[in-house]
Symmetry: D2
Subunit: 371 residues, 4 copies
């Protein structure tokens, strides 16, 4: 029966019932993944390079009996998410840097009111209007929080079309498990790229949340709010939030490694950068450089523990980012500055080539006494 | 002549011509300081606990022939700041957490277009609506940047009524010197507190900016924009911004110390917290604990170098914040984790007492082998 | 099958399958009527005394698989109506005076682009905020057009709960037949009153409009727009609109009469006023005054022809309005000022009693030489 | 002294101190006139063909120490007018059809709260976006009121550059005298045309209004509001408004005539149309047709009395409008349909030529038995 429903949903999305890969844009895979995870409400406003998400959502959500609203503004859309999430349904929005900036108040409200929802950002060049080429310069905004108050949000960083689907699905599960907004944070490259993706079966419907407000007698007394006028109450609420983030840090870390066995040099990168680094590491290993790659899949929680372990084995680390150096601080904090951590960055939409990264690896290996 | 103008301005603000202290709220001192620094344009929207800034600005700016506009929204006000700043005049806005969240897009645009302006935030409880009691939980939003893109803004953190005036004036000078938005970041306590303030003479008018757009023939070809469609151009623009931030880090650091001579334990706090810590350090010294206080006056640039020096002399550090622990990461990064850095935080609007801080100091001294 | 669908729709609305009367508020009857007429999209913003429309729509539209969106503003909601109507679906919004004022641009756009849609207004006291008691002071706004440009909209003026349903259904039919926005214009009294209503069966689905834009290949070349940059083209478009309004004036007039046989005095009133007038006419006839009532059911087209006929038989007319005298001009224009037309009005939410109207009738009969 | 001030103001506006004509666009003349009438606050949003008003205002208002704000929207600007007017200062906004539609709520609020202000509309083609060529199709919106509630606004209809200045000045006087919003209603042709204009001396400052709210102790108890919750109070407020409109109808009518002596045919037109009609009447008189022109200068109050007098002398009337026939109803109502009133209209931005009007006059003369 659930299987049937699954087939129906996949059919409505134009997906094969079986696990046959289909070629699809990363942005589109986010939408399919959201619906397979049970999301039935999308509120958003189009912005390059995230626009396909809204476009595909406008077709796919109604196709499965869901709701798609192109709101009047980025602010309206995040507040609609707040409203929908308060009823307990799985819902989402998506945007790029300038839009995510506008949504900061709303995200903070969702975090304060502990509303599960998913916000995807497909990062472009900045600051200001910048351009529409890929960057990772919104790391601090997304991971260290651009809104006001003591909150955090789990952040998934897909590096492939498959992960655009899978991590979006994971994001909904995490959002519900911890009653928190969750970000899916990809660069414009990963959003625009077409790749074969195998779509999993839909997640079976879960029981309704007992805290939600569903306009019925049973939930009439439920209150969804971020106001705590008494300092002691707000402090206790914040301590509750910190305990939740602590638990997330303990249980939800995800990362992947490539050739870290015996690595004396560890390179760190996420998203599209990690794919370039994979090639560069492969080339470097062929040259005899003992280098490995650590790719954070969750940016919060950050793979601190594994990095610290690697810092005992390695002599040097290098982070590669499409930014002015933001994640590098999380790497340094993770390893307590035990070994030097270099940073190599490109900005403005430029993505380094494997050769370019290889050069950086060679230099770091030399300077770090790795060879 | 300039002196006369100064007397006139001070007279229009209801301030004594001489340097006689007057009793005034911190929020009001920001407005007087802004006007003494030459600001003549204020655009804002009221929000507790920053509302007195808008209220006083509505009287004081027109009183000196300036412009005050209560905009339709936080977003309208930051965009009016963008427009006014593009003409080269000194202008400002102010808000608190939720409003600053809404302004993130606009701040990023000002940073991208290199527009000098001052944005004051009087931090309250969060996340979401939270409450209107003081917090420092927007440190990451303000210092590590809540908007999109690779930008930073200098951040001044006043701890007294006098500094609410003086640092606002400094903020305007820094904004103009580096063509950058600058934040004045105070907690609600410092904003609401009344203290005696000596108001300096007005800063003499400076020459007009040659990059500004003043609707005349001379500036017709000037372009104020944050768009750079070509990745190489946007990358070069970003590298230019990073050089600017680097220079700011080298030249504009401000901090103050109290009893750090021979301190084996260093406590770090800013804003209202630093005043409580001063008392706690005094009490601890009387007990024979060799403790000193480092107070960052600029949060960006952060007093990294001085902290690192102190880390050679001390055995332990503790940061005190009205947050879940945000500045503590900057302390750890500054000293390369050379010695342990503890964190003690209150949230929800609660401010620790001197006794409470003293207890933390005693424990840190014991555990840190300081005694 | 269609009958089954009908039963299903009525069931989903909580209505009996048979034609059993149920007691219901006028505002609620509008929503049921809209859905029975095939509307599946509602966009609105709540305002007293129309709020029950939005509230009921929020339940009823989703219950039949339709869409309900509480928009960010009155303006957003009328523009969502524009968008939905452009796809050819039956859609509506509702408001009261202040909201209808805000929607004027949008209504003009719908008229210019010839988009069928229904806009209900439940009139309250004005001008400005006024109060929330019933008035008919928006007659000129609704009937003679408050938006810009040479357009008109058919206007239905219900006087009972039954008509709130029936005329809303008629409004949708007229909207589609003539590709035009249509107003349902009731006073707050008729909106708030509870009366027994027999709900008809749903109108069977009609074929899709060939001019609509449905995001498919077949309608890709359709253009829905109100722009005609060339004066000759815009003039021709306007002439086309005028021909349409002419046809509406010829075919769509609705009115009802009461005791007009041999009437030498004719009273004219619509909405709640007509019900009071019915009692007053009855009382006056008992006194021997040869008076009759003409109630316009459509305000545009106005029952000009019938009024002119009555002007040949009668010696005097009186219009009763909850306004400063607006419909009275349409009466005078209709009868070419052949006989005197008096006006009696109440404002501010006061509704005249039957006795009060009887007094006016007595005086008009005396002064008009009717007796 | 006042004269000096006058010279200063004219100097600041770039106008000659003496009464030398200068060549200027109609839209610009509105701005100069407003400032000469004492207006010092302008709030608006640009729209073709009214944009020069905002552009010139942005220079001229600050040049005389006044305020110019380009608001975020049409709605923001009319609400800023509401706020400024409540302080008793002379203030204005301007727009064209679509913008005036959006301002309807605000205008109704100003009327309800009895706030003096001036709103200029430079009419363009409609409905909807229409085009940017001149029309007079917003007559009903402007004269018979597009907002909600029982209000009216005086309407001045300039037909030349000189009147764009003079009638704007008159509008401010009327607004203050009666505490009412006043419209200046011109077609796009009159707004865009350049003509020589002699600018009068500034109107001397008038005493402050005792009802205004000026943020001082003296006016602390003044209340500016359009809310009257009790029906009897709102009815009394409405009766007060009607008495005011009655007084305006008695005292403020303005019109001009051309060759109406002995005219058996009277043509009626306003704005640019009246100038074409003047030529046509001249040509017709040369042919021996006894025709004259009545030009309403105020559209509300309408020159009813004079038209009725002319209806006793003439056999036929014709109104010429750039619309579907809106003013014609006011002509018919004025003369109680005593003689036939024809209508000739152009739409879409087309303006009839003098020859074209002459043809209409010839035909009307023939059919009307005038010859």
């Amino acid at each position: 029966m659930a299987q049937d429903a699954g087939s129906n949903v996949k059919g409505a999305l134009g997906l094969p019932a079986r696990r046959t890969p289909i070629l699809i844009k990363g942005n589109d895979a986010i939408v399919k993944g959201a619906i397979l995870a049970g999301a039935r409400s999308y509120f958003g406003y189009p912005i390059t390079p995230a626009s396909e998400i809204a476009e595909t959502a406008s077709r796919d959500f109604p196709a499965v009996g869901g709701v798609f609203i192109q709101a009047e503004s980025e602010i309206a859309s995040i507040n609609m998410v707040y409203g929908a999430a308060a009823t307990g349904v799985r819902c989402m929005t998506a945007s790029s840097g300038p839009g995510i900036s506008l949504k900061q108040e709303g995200i903070s409200y969702c975090a304060g009111a502990e509303l599960p929802c998913v916000i995807a950002t497909i990062m472009r060049g900045g600051p200001g209007l910048g351009n529409i080429a890929p960057e990772q310069s919104d790391y601090n905004q997304v991971v260290r929080i651009g809104g006001h108050g003591n909150y955090r949000t789990p952040v998934y960083a897909p590096a492939s079309g498959q992960e655009m689907c899978d991590l979006t699905m994971a994001a909904f599960e995490t959002a519900d498990r911890y009653r928190t907004p969750v970000m899916v944070c990809a660069d414009g490259f990963t959003g625009q790229m077409m790749e074969p993706v195998v779509f999993p079966d839909p997640i079976p419907a879960r029981p309704e949340h007992d805290w939600a407000v569903r306009a019925d007698a049973a939930t009439r007394r439920n209150l969804v709010s971020s106001i705590f006028l008494e300092p002691d109450e707000l402090e206790e609420h914040n301590r509750h939030l910190q305990r939740k983030y602590k638990e997330i840090e303990e249980k939800e870390v995800r990362f992947s490694e490539y050739m870290t066995d015996g690595a004396k040099l560890v390179v760190v990168g996420y998203g599209i950068v990690s794919r370039v680094l994979r090639s560069a590491v492969h080339l470097a290993r062929e040259e005899g450089i003992p280098v490995g790659l650590l790719r954070p899949i969750t940016l919060f929680p950050f793979p601190k523990k594994r990095l610290e372990e690697l810092a005992h084995q390695a002599k040097r680390m290098v982070t590669f980012e499409l930014s002015n150096g933001q994640m590098v601080e999380d790497v340094r904090l993770s390893i307590h500055d035990r070994i030097p951590v270099d940073f190599y960055g490109r900005m403005g939409g430029n993505v380094p080539t494997a050769e370019e990264c290889l050069d950086v690896i060679r230099r770091a290996a030399r300077e770090g006494g790795v060879l």
